[in-house]
Symmetry: C2
Subunit: 259 residues, 2 copies
């Protein structure tokens, strides 16, 4: 059961947003669980991470100073929410430090909850799919970041995550071959951006709007693709989604690309 939560932190003194780099935010989040090893281990899965994190301010106003900030946390598997909620709602003294500044978890609000069953059943077999990539998105190939929204890369990534965390699986081979043969980018407006994760380390990814179109009417495959889009609002797409990259918004009232 994917759950989207907003975590609000207060700071003991002002901090520049630009110092809250993705890796710092990632560290803050983990230090919430330092006294709860089991939960920490659940989050630290060896392969695909069962959560994503997003710190909007870093991508919008790096030059500003803040005395509080909000994190978006998405939990992707069914087991995680009760465990994380137990710690975050009921543990006392959830104080962490940000470069020496004390940060205190002030509030926690679930803003979106869906079930895998519901996402799949409620999905329509639409052939036009529109995704907005709100933060830099990329895929890894050897030492390179792939920075084009190739349908195959986008949906294979979503599918892997879905099948890792959902009790209802989507047959991967059929869907991937449908995507490879029938799903195309019909339009896009994208630009790439380089973002500093930590000190010298940078990631390049594309941001912007992408229109996909399926050339073939195949209801089962199309329903699965639309369910993956809904899921993408929790999971994000591509690299480093535990640090705010690959954040996606799905246009439910989707339009087709026509200029």
């Amino acid at each position: 059961m994917p759950v989207k939560l907003l975590l609000k932190f207060g700071l003991s003194s002002p901090v520049k947003v630009s110092s809250l780099k993705p890796k710092v935010i990632h560290g803050i989040f983990f230090s919430l669980f330092q006294k709860n090893k089991e939960v920490g281990e659940l989050l630290h899965s060896p392969s695909l991470k069962p959560f994503t994190l997003f710190f909007p301010a870093y991508f919008r106003k790096p030059e500003e100073e803040v005395t509080s900030f909000t994190l978006e946390l998405n939990l992707l598997n069914n087991e995680l929410f009760p465990e994380v909620a137990r710690v975050l709602f009921f543990e006392k003294e959830l104080e962490v430090s940000v470069n020496g500044v004390k940060a205190e978890l002030r509030s926690l609000k679930p803003v979106l909850v869906e079930t895998y069953e519901g996402m799949l059943k409620g999905s329509s077999p639409k052939r036009d799919i529109v995704l907005d990539f709100l933060t830099p998105t990329s895929f890894r190939k050897k030492d390179a970041d792939l920075v084009l929204p190739e349908p195959y890369l986008v949906f294979r990534n979503l599918l892997r995550r879905w099948n890792a965390f959902s009790p209802i699986k989507i047959p991967p081979r059929e869907l991937i071959s449908f995507v490879k043969e029938n799903l195309f980018v019909s339009g896009c407006w994208i630009k790439t951006k380089k973002v500093e994760i930590m000190n010298e380390a940078k990631i390049t990814g594309f941001m912007g709007r992408v229109y996909f179109y399926a050339f073939k009417e195949e209801p089962e495959a199309l329903k699965a693709l639309n369910a993956l889009c809904r899921f993408s609002e929790f999971s994000g797409v591509g690299r480093k989604t535990t640090m705010g990259f690959g954040k996606v918004r799905w246009e439910r009232e989707n339009e087709s690309f026509e200029e």
Copy 2:
């Protein structure tokens, strides 16, 4: 020997730019050779066309009316220039009609001439390559337009044209495998656009700037890629380059993508 020529036409009465759709311009150009079947046949090669055409006004000011217009004509093979020049420079009464309006070829100016030998020998083994796609560019796959600047699609297309028209060939297999393994998009700023070719027929393509980067230092391959970029300013890239699509500008003083 690729040659870029500018053809200036005068019109007997004003014509709206939007009525000079790519297919109309293509027709005007061919009607220049209606009395010279041999030249017409040379241009009408069965597979890859040995020329490209570009009508800048259509992509810039479709709403305006004009009484004259300029066409850019690129001839790609060694044999074509003398033949085309003979007709265009020396034939009399090169009058053609544009939707019933008389168009007269008023002047003809070669603006760029290169040899295939010169492009290849003069090429540097640069690893950063920057291309500006000035008009919609796409590649055909079954019924779909592929509208992402995948390195493999861009350079395979250029290579096919080069080898079709150049007396010096570039070994295709080696170069394509170099591109597939080592050439990546390191940055881009693109948007897609739909353009009407004629009546209802439309083409979608991407426009904008694309940065390519080669992860491997391999001088021969890199020299060939840079030569192809120089050639691209004559040949264009992708579909319908005989109608103004896929027009490319190569940034010779190339920068690497860094933001």
